[in-house]
C-alpha cells in the first residue's frame, strides 16, 4: 500500500497542469508564480488528511488551489508560516519551435484571463477545464444560474476582446 506522502505526490503529479494554469492566471511575474505554486501545494498537503477519496481529487484540488490563489492575489502573504523553497516547484519548458495560430490564440486567451476579476478568473478556468455548471457551483459556492450568467458575460467580454485584437 502506498504511503500518504507518496500518494499525495502521485496525485499532484497527475494534476500539475491545474496548478500551472492557476498560477499563470493569478500571477504575472515568475517569482510570484513560484511563491503561489508553493503556497498551493503547502495548503493541499496541509488539508490532504481531510480529503475524502470518494470525491474527485481535481474538484477538491481546484477548491483549495483557487482559494489560495485568490487570497494570495489579495495580498494575504503577511502571515507566511513556512520556509520558502528556492527551486521552482512547477517548471514550464518552452519549446523552441515557432508558434502556430492555435498557440497564439491560447496565449491571447491567457492574457485576457489575466485581466479578469479574481472570481471571474476562477469561473472561466473551471469552464475551460470542462467542469459542468454544477461542479463550478460546488467549487465556487454560487448558484448554477449565477454561474451560467457569469459565463455568458465573460464569453461576451472575451468575444469583444478577440474581435478587437
Amino acid at each position: 500500500m502506498m504511503r500518504k506522502d507518496q500518494e499525495f505526490t502521485r496525485l499532484i503529479r497527475e494534476n500539475k497542469r491545474i496548478i500551472y494554469k492557476i498560477c499563470n492566471a493569478y500571477c504575472s511575474s515568475k517569482d510570484d508564480r513560484d511563491d503561489l505554486a508553493q503556497e498551493i501545494i503547502y495548503n493541499l498537503w496541509k488539508s490532504f488528511s481531510s480529503f475524502n477519496p470518494e470525491l474527485k481529487f481535481s474538484t477538491w484540488m481546484y477548491r483549495i488551489a483557487l482559494n489560495v490563489a485568490i487570497s494570495f492575489y489579495r495580498r494575504e502573504k503577511k502571515f507566511k508560516n513556512h520556509d520558502p523553497i528556492s527551486e521552482g516547484l512547477i517548471v514550464f519548458e518552452e519549446t523552441s519551435a515557432g508558434k502556430n495560430e492555435v498557440e497564439n490564440n491560447i496565449r491571447l486567451l491567457q492574457d485576457f484571463i489575466n485581466e479578469l476579476k479574481e472570481i471571474d478568473k476562477a469561473i472561466i478556468l473551471l469552464y475551460l477545464d470542462n467542469k459542468s455548471h454544477r461542479e463550478i457551483a460546488e467549487i465556487t459556492g454560487f448558484t448554477e444560474t449565477n454561474v451560467a450568467t457569469k459565463i455568458n458575460r465573460i464569453k461576451d467580454k472575451l468575444r469583444t476582446n478577440f474581435s478587437n485584437k
Binding site: W45, G141, F142
Partner: protein, 230 residues
C-alpha cells in the same frame, strides 16, 4: 472567436502541458517535511489578548456595578460601559470562531467572505466606538467615584461631578438621548452593502485604509453573486 472554440483548443493544449510542465518532486518532499502550522496563529493570539483585556474590564465593571447598585447614576454609567465591553468581547469571540473554522476546503464564496471578515475587524471596532461614544462620558463618572471610594487624596480635585453642580448628569443624559439614535443609524449605514454611498466609502477609506475598502468591495461582489444580484 467563440469561447467554445477556444475551450477545445484549451483542452487540446493540456496534452502539451502534460509534457512541458514538470514537477519538482524533491521540493514537494521538503514541503511535506515542514511542520504544519496555521497562518492565522498570530491573528488568533491577538484576538485572544483582546478577549482577555475585555473580560478584565467586564469583571471590574461588574464589581463596580454591584458596589454602587443603589446609586442610580453610577449604576447606569457602569451598565453603559459594560454594554460596550460586552459587545467588543462578543466581536472578538466571533473573530476567534471565524479563525478556528477557517478552512480552504470550503467553497470560494464562503472561504473568501470569512477572510474578508477577518480583514475588516478594524472597521467593526471603528463602528462600535462611534456607536458607543455617548457612553464614554461614563469613564470620568466612574473614575470620580473610584477616587472617592478609595479616598485617593492626590486626585481629590478631579471630582468633576461635584464641581459641575448637577450639570454633568444633564450632559450625560442629553448625550445619551441625542447621540445614541445617531450612533445606531451610523452603525447600520456603514456596511459593505452601502459601499456605493460616497460618504460610507470615504469613512471606511479614511478610518481603515484602502485595503479594507477593497476587501469590503470584494465582499459585496461575492455576496451579490451568492444571492443572485448580478
Amino acid at each position: 472567436m467563440e469561447l467554445d472554440e477556444l475551450k477545445g483548443m484549451w483542452l487540446s493544449n493540456d496534452e502539451k502541458l502534460e509534457k512541458s510542465v514538470t514537477l519538482n518532486e524533491e521540493s514537494i518532499e521538503l514541503i511535506q517535511a515542514q511542520k504544519v502550522t496555521s497562518k492565522l496563529v498570530p491573528l488568533y493570539r491577538q484576538r485572544v489578548i483582546e478577549c482577555i483585556f475585555h473580560s478584565f474590564a467586564i469583571v471590574l465593571l461588574i464589581g463596580f456595578l454591584f458596589k454602587n447598585i443603589t446609586e442610580f447614576p453610577y449604576a447606569i454609567s457602569a451598565i453603559a460601559l459594560l454594554a460596550f465591553y460586552i459587545t467588543t468581547f462578543i466581536n472578538a469571540i466571533k473573530q476567534i470562531n471565524l479563525i478556528k473554522n477557517m478552512d480552504f476546503n470550503k467553497d470560494l464564496a464562503t472561504m473568501q467572505s470569512s477572510l474578508v471578515m477577518l480583514q475588516t475587524h478594524i472597521i467593526n471596532y471603528a463602528k462600535l466606538t462611534i456607536l458607543f461614544i455617548p457612553t464614554f462620558l461614563a469613564y470620568p463618572t466612574i473614575l470620580t467615584k473610584v477616587i472617592k471610594d478609595f479616598d485617593i487624596k492626590a486626585l481629590a480635585d478631579f471630582d468633576i461631578i461635584a464641581k459641575s453642580n448637577g450639570s454633568w448628569w444633564t450632559l450625560e443624559l442629553v448625550a445619551l438621548i441625542v447621540l445614541v439614535p445617531l450612533g445606531i443609524w451610523f452603525y447600520k449605514e456603514v456596511t459593505y452593502k452601502n459601499m456605493d454611498k460616497k460618504w460610507v466609502k470615504n469613512f471606511i477609506q479614511k478610518s481603515s485604509g484602502t485595503r479594507v475598502t477593497k476587501a469590503l468591495e470584494f465582499l459585496k461582489e461575492l455576496q451579490d453573486l451568492k444571492h443572485e444580484i448580478i
